[in-house]
Symmetry: C2
Subunit: 155 residues, 2 copies
């Protein structure tokens, strides 16, 4: 799958607002609406575009707490860490999950209603897990940029 400069310009617009009409994207990049649609379709089929999603206002939903959690595992073998990862990824509170290099093994971004909900989450997913050596929590005071776009390199 090779992406030309037009694909990249289309993606750069489209990733920020999927409601932009193809005609408007075309007017910006110098292509017809049909050509833009064709390219978007191909980008979906080849999984360059992996999902089209809506960003929600957490506060409006009653989700007042975002936490960044660092988890250190005891058994870091592939089998054990994948089991941990799979269990966490399946939890709806876990918005993001990254396996990282270094001291700590996983970084989670967890979105919940309040501290009580966080306590429940910890009890169920972390304290209860014999493979979790330790974890630390950072409470987010301000989400200055959340689930943002990505910088698309030139070529």
């Amino acid at each position: 799958m090779t992406l030309d400069a037009l694909d990249r310009r289309i993606l750069d617009l489209y990733q920020r607002d999927t409601r932009l009409p193809a005609e408007q994207i075309g007017a910006t990049v110098g292509l017809s609406a049909a050509a833009v649609q064709r390219r978007l379709k191909r980008l979906r089929e080849t999984r360059v575009i992996t999902a089209e999603t809506a960003q929600l206002d957490c506060a409006a939903l009653g989700l007042g707490l975002t936490a960044i959690v660092h988890v250190d595992l005891i058994d870091e073998s592939a089998r054990a860490s994948h089991a941990f990862r799979d269990r966490l990824v399946a939890r709806p509170e876990v918005q993001q999950c990254y396996g990282v290099a270094g001291n700590v093994d996983y970084v989670l971004i967890v979105v919940l209603a309040d501290l009580a909900a966080y306590e429940t989450f910890c009890a169920q997913c972390l304290l209860h897990d014999a493979n979790v050596r330790s974890f630390t929590t950072q409470v987010v005071l301000e989400a200055a940029k959340r689930g943002g776009a990505v910088a698309i390199p030139a070529s």
Copy 2:
């Protein structure tokens, strides 16, 4: 702005796939297509839905490196930290930016092509900034869940 149970069920479906036809959402939650559209429109206008975006495959775009960066500032006053935050949020490589409680002041998720690009980014945004006391970098080995959906509480 008050959200009823139907709004929440609609959002739960819609946040994962904005290409779901309103008719299909309606069939699931027990509403007509027009009613679903009307609610989505209101949810957009009231900014419960803050954006409709596309998730892209970073690897396909040549973005091979994701890093989680913790930044400790010297001057943590509102003026100084907001200046730092605004500068970083404006950078396209900075996909996410969170102000957190605790030792460290900001957590960034940065998406770039490679380590060379990261070095440039650090030089421009962190090393160069007199208000950055220190920062640490975690290299993401595996993004198990990226920019995911959020768990919508019952009421």
